[in-house]
């Protein structure tokens, strides 16, 4: 069966040679290589649940009278967008599950991208020849954040509406063209003529996802072409890849992983409430609700806005709202530019132009690890700064003290983190056998009271490491004799 249909296809497309190579493709095994898979699979969940949502959600600011399952809203005037989002939560069967799964998978998507990116950074996987894939990855992170914000805005509830208002003001803060950009995007002065929801919808369900799908294809294509990196270890060199073959081992594991990622998303969606828009109410530009935070991936922008001093520039008949422009436009711009440029910044600094297929251990590269830790700490500090009010309440201290703490700590603590990390890495570099898996010693006491020490039995993983890696075998009776060159085995050179 398989044989004859393969023949049919191969006659026309010639896929057998490349296909065989693909099935033999080796994937190195390490837990940290799964992080990217989480991102991939939560994107699959986003596409699936998103299509479900768009069957019921109507992107319209048009006002209607609500008649649905949520009783407190009965008879009130709400926008169609809000009514259908609440409807998804109350009237569509399985709708709440799908809505919350969509939102949870957005958070998991961006979280796993961030952790995946940290893995790639700290192990030096972005070095030559993989700079393209680093850039593609950073672009997807950027698009993911944008699409998360757009989606968050769609239900037209009080919290998301406030977010749109803030976004409009940030656009307005750009010198020269800000007011024009705002007017063009919103179809007029805020809140515009109701066009913003359909526009956000189009971007959210079509344009940005299509860009992400394209980049994802490039990301995976480059991965196949350039092959995966691996950690140093027995038999692993710059010129080979050691691990499990695509078919069947990797396929089984990764399929299972797709199921697990989806499962966790749906279990969260069913048991952990997220974004209960019916409690926030319909957006009205003059209303606001207290102590609601944006999704976590927007928090870092909110933090910089809070700790920025109120420096507005006024002169020559113009205003430049530096208190907005610097923290909300320039700062994220600089951060993303550093992200994009990092492979080149580093290779210029190290003058390292060689190919790298073996990964670094973070402690072997103290400066890079220090820089990464500094960036993580900076992100963490400004994220924390986005809840100054919550902290002031919680610790019963004055808001002013909290604010000044962050104004000093946000630049200072990351710098300290850099030096401490570099120091720790250097000390670890000198230590004997650090990071090696240690075999425990078992101490015996004989009947006569003598003590003796014996190394414990090998654990399952210990023995495994000791085999020499071999090419993926194919059994001879499946392969024409002239292609087989060994006793039962042929080897494919590529």
């Amino acid at each position: 069966m398989i044989d004859s249909s393969l023949r049919w296809v191969d006659d026309r497309l010639g896929i057998a040679k490349g296909g065989r190579t693909f099935l033999d493709k080796i994937f190195p095994d390490h837990w940290s290589f799964m992080l990217g898979e989480i991102a991939l699979y939560s994107f699959v969940v986003l596409l699936g649940t998103g299509v479900f949502l768009s069957l019921y959600y109507i992107p319209s600011a048009h006002e209607i009278v609500y008649h649905g399952g949520y009783l407190p809203l009965q008879g009130q005037k709400v926008s169609e967008a809000y009514a259908t989002s609440v409807g998804l939560s109350f009237d569509v069967k399985s709708g709440l599950l799908m809505r919350q799964a969509h939102h949870w998978s957005a958070d998991i998507f961006l979280g796993s991208i961030a952790v995946h990116m940290a893995r790639v950074f700290f192990t030096g996987a972005f070095r030559k020849p993989r700079e393209f894939n680093w850039i593609v990855g950073v672009t997807m992170l950027l698009l993911g954040i944008v699409n998360g914000f757009l989606g968050y805005s769609l239900p037209d509830d009080l919290v998301s509406g406030t977010g749109i208002r803030i976004a409009y003001s940030i656009i307005e803060s750009v010198p020269l063209v800000g007011s024009y950009l705002g007017f063009f995007l919103f179809g007029g002065n805020y809140p515009g003529n109701g066009i913003i929801i359909p526009r956000f919808y189009l971007l959210h369900v079509l344009i940005v996802p299509a860009l992400i799908v394209g980049l994802l294809a490039a990301h995976l294509g480059l991965l196949v072409k350039q092959k995966h990196t691996q950690f140093k270890g027995r038999g692993k060199t710059e010129h080979n890849v050691v691990g499990s073959p695509m078919f069947p081992t990797f396929m089984a594991k990764t399929t299972g992983f797709l199921f697990m990622t989806t499962a966790v998303t749906f279990i969260l969606a069913g048991f952990a409430q997220i974004n209960p828009i019916w409690q926030f109410g319909q957006y009205e530009p003059f209303q606001i609700s207290y102590a609601v935070q944006p999704d976590w991936y927007m928090g870092w922008l909110d933090g910089t806005l809070r700790i920025m001093p109120s420096w507005e520039f006024v002169g020559w008949g113009h205003t430049i709202p530096l208190e907005v422009l610097l923290p909300a436009v320039i700062f994220p711009g600089i951060i993303f530019n550093i992200f994009f440029a990092w492979p080149f910044i580093e290779s210029r600094h190290t003058r390292d132009l060689a190919y790298h297929n073996l990964l670094d251990r973070p402690r072997d590269r103290p400066k890079r690890t220090g820089a990464g830790a500094m960036m993580l700490m900076l992100m963490f500090m400004i994220f924390a700064a986005s809840s100054t009010d919550v902290m002031a309440n919680f610790f019963q201290i004055r808001l002013n003290s909290v604010l000044w703490f962050f104004r000093i700590a946000v630049p200072l603590i990351p710098v300290i983190t850099y030096f401490v990390t570099v120091k720790i890495c250097e000390e670890m570099g000198g230590a004997e056998g650090i990071g090696k898996r240690k075999r425990p010693n078992v101490v015996h006491r004989s009947a006569s009271g003598e003590f003796s020490t014996v190394p414990a039995e090998a654990r399952p993983g210990d023995g495994h490491e000791e085999l020499e890696a071999v090419p993926v075998p194919t059994f001879i009776d499946m392969v024409p004799a002239d292609l087989a060159t060994g006793p039962g085995i042929r080897r494919v050179m590529r």
């Binding site: 179809g187 007029g188 010129h239 697990m260 100054t388 604010l403 039962g488 590529r494």
Partner: protein
């Protein structure tokens, strides 16, 4: 993919007894039983979801059955892959994917020489094509960008709030009404009371949102209520003052009034405005005071505006003087 050579130099033969082909698990039977059990649980979970869907719309049950099913099935497949398939490790060579120097030179030559030949010989055509496509790029941008929305009005005289960042609908003698359109009277608020108001006919409009605060209980015959802010001492009336509710930081509604300290707090980034001294920002990122609306009372005890706002409300922007 590169060529497949049947005459591979080094060959590794693997027999069926080779440890590489043995499963990773020490006791494959047990591992298989576990994987099978997980898959059975997965199957039952999906059946459970099917039943749940038809008999109730209980989100928790749906999540538990569907999610539990996928978790178990996924665990089963992973166990199969990890413990029961050939443990390896297997190896594959990397090939150099860059071309040889000669190939690179050939490509460069093709671009530089062939291209150069054509472009240099036909300079006019090249120039015209560049001109034409640039023109196309520019004009295509017109509908793509310019059609999106109106330009912000350049003139300060424009009164349409949709068209100008300077305009509000507050004019001389605008009647103060609530979001529901109810007329606001002097007797409506006690000291410390606040109300969001709009000019009559523009209820709920974003740029017009104004917060009305009663600071003191002063009757019509008491000595007039004097504000601290210079030049605006008579902008309040009978203990009432009114300020734009749109934060000068990023435009959030400044919705929180603290009676004791007479402060308005913006919940977005905690800017704090001192109401008694003209809503000057005392704390946080807001750069400017909230603009004030001058008030008066008409013969029927209804609150009205003496005039519109004297400056642009809301966050800063380039054209703001």
């Amino acid at each position: 993919m590169s060529d497949e050579s049947p005459k591979a130099p080094s060959l590794t033969s693997v027999s069926l007894e080779d440890p590489h082909l043995q499963p990773y698990a020490k006791h494959p039977g047990r591992a298989e039983a576990l994987a099978a059990a997980a898959m059975v649980i997965g199957f039952l979970g999906f059946i459970g979801f099917g039943i749940t869907y038809w008999i109730s719309d209980q989100t928790q049950w749906q999540a538990a059955t569907l999610g539990g099913g996928m978790l178990a099935l996924g665990a089963g497949v992973i166990a199969w892959g990890k413990y029961l398939m050939a443990q390896g490790p297997f190896v594959e060579e990397r090939h150099e994917f860059h071309s040889t120097e000669a190939e690179r030179d050939a490509m460069t030559a093709a671009i530089v020489e062939r291209g150069g030949m054509v472009v240099q010989r036909r300079k006019v055509l090249g120039g015209l094509f560049a001109l034409g496509s640039t023109a196309m790029g520019v004009v295509i941008a017109f509908p793509l960008i310019r059609s999106l929305g109106p330009k912000p009005a350049a003139s300060r005289q424009v009164t349409n709030t949709d068209a100008s960042l300077f305009a509000t609908n507050w004019k001389k003698n605008s009647q103060l009404v609530t979001a529901e359109g109810r007329i606001v009277k002097v007797a409506d608020l006690d000291v410390g009371g606040v109300l969001t108001v709009f000019p009559k006919g523009h209820e709920g409009s974003s740029p017009d949102q104004t917060i009305l605060i009663r600071l003191a209980q002063i009757g019509p015959n008491d000595p007039p209520f004097q504000l601290e802010s210079p030049g605006r001492t008579d902008w309040g009336v009978q203990g009432y003052v009114a300020y734009s509710k749109m934060c000068t930081h990023l435009g959030c509604p400044v919705g929180l009034y603290q009676k004791l300290t007479q402060q308005l707090v913006c919940p977005c980034h905690q800017s704090i405005f001192n109401v008694a001294s003209g809503c000057v920002p005392e704390f946080g990122p807001a750069p400017r005071p909230l603009p004030q609306l001058p008030l008066k009372v008409d013969a029927f005890g209804n609150l009205q505006s003496q005039s519109g706002y004297h400056q642009a409300i809301g966050p800063g922007f380039w054209e703001r003087p």
